[in-house]
């Protein structure tokens, strides 16, 4: 799995990140600055639409994802089997549409080593998020 970098905006006043990029912060009438966030996050919630609007095929899987850094975004997915609120997912952009995919155990481990090597200062937070992910992954396998 390749972690994509996702274009975002940051509010210079409150540091809020939004995806996709926006001109103005929703909380402050000030111009936002360009930023990027990694395409890795957690499921906030999801649904499957059985009568989607025109132009979409049923069943339509839609998830709201919170990316590392706090920005949330809507994604499509191939399926929601095995997905729970709090599941770790990877997010990719194809033709300007975001898709989420379940991160396997191996994906999460690879991500861990790649990023641990990239920068020591992020090590602690990554370890924490990974430990959380592994814990969730294990409890799911058990259930």
């Amino acid at each position: 799995m390749i972690v994509q970098s996702i274009e975002a905006s940051r509010c210079p006043r409150c540091e809020r990140m939004v995806v996709p990029p926006a001109h103005y912060c929703p909380d402050h009438p000030v111009a936002m600055e360009p930023a990027t966030v990694p395409g890795v996050g957690e499921i906030v919630s999801f649904t499957t639409l059985h009568s989607p609007p025109e132009g979409f095929k049923a069943p339509l899987h839609i998830a709201l994802i919170e990316l590392e850094g706090g920005a949330r975004l809507f994604c499509h997915g191939q399926e929601t089997r095995g997905i729970k609120i709090g599941s770790s997912v990877g997010v990719e952009s194809l033709d300007n549409v975001f898709y989420f995919s379940h991160m396997s155990f191996a994906d999460r481990a690879r991500l861990f080593w790649r990023r641990a090597g990239a920068g020591g200062e992020k090590f602690a937070s990554i370890t924490k998020s990974l430990a959380k992910g592994l814990f969730r992954g294990r409890s799911r396998d058990d259930s």
């Binding site: 996709p20 906030v44 999801f46 639409l49 059985h50 839609i62 994604c75």
Partner: protein, 375 residues
Amino acid sequence: VNNVWIAGVGMTRFGRRDESLPDLIAEAALPALRDAGIERPDALVVAAMNPEEFTGAGNYGSLINTYLGLAHVPTVRVETATSSGMAAVYAGFADIAAGLHRTVLVVGGEKMSHMPTPRVSEIIGRSIDPHERTYGTTMPALAGLITRAAMHSRGLTLREMAQVSVKNHANGARNPLAHFREPVTLEAVMQSRLVADPLRLYHCCPISDGAAAVVLTAEPAAVRIAGIGQGTDTMALRYRSELTSFRATQAAAQAAYAMAGFGPERVDLAELHDAFSPFELISLEDAGLMPAGKAGRATLDGETALDGRLPVNTSGGLKARGHPLAATGISQIVELCLQLRGIAEGRQVAARVGLAHSIGGLATNNWVTLVEARA
């Protein structure tokens, strides 16, 4: 600030109606004026969420004042998505409270059922953030996301949600103007078809036509508007950190209680915006009528039923009375007035203070209104 009274009410039967929107609006407005004993109000406020798309007509305030024979009455048209009706009540309230006029007719309605359902859903769905709509999100889709999150974080159950629909259908069966007048069983709700997992068809309000009207006056009448508050939130759901309660309702409720000078403890009955049945439970807590996490259990225990401690949606709510968009907020006030005046035949409860709660869009522009019977 002058006191503002509700001197007259009127509404049409909600449901599938063949009449035009101006005809429906007249059917609600003229009886409301008669009820108030007024032929010509000083001002007119018209609420319609999207008559441009639903009916092809424009300049809607002028269309309605001319149609009603009130062509020379100053008129504004008001819109805040699905809470447009309550926004119109607010506009009328502010007009009289400020002393600009003595009598204001507030009327709202929508006519949609002549269009195919997917088209109606698409038009209503335009109240969703444009970027989020490109993902196929509809109002039920966003409500489905919120419902799943509420089940996860607040322990909301499918049974509690289903009981809201059962109760509101039971109330609707007693309201001759309701869209649905048949009771439903818990099993029927829980087995109805999935719309936006975990939401099922019987958790969702129908597409209804209809209109409702109130006449507001500076002259004392049977019911007073004690407080009215507005609350807003981001149009984009992805900009909110909290999914399972609505900041817009909390802010509206706070403002309404502050204006009224009393709190939720004085509320005897409520009309809440149950466009999706879990929203009734979320709104009970957001409006301070139930402690956090208790609304579901209280509903199963019958506390919000017609004979409960705090009857909710005695009209049948959006689920059973129906939801003709801009008529809905006004119809909530109509129901509360009938209850406070003791003329809610077949569903009368004992009450002095009522609360109405209206959601605009996906809780982007909400209202809470408190009405009180004259002492």
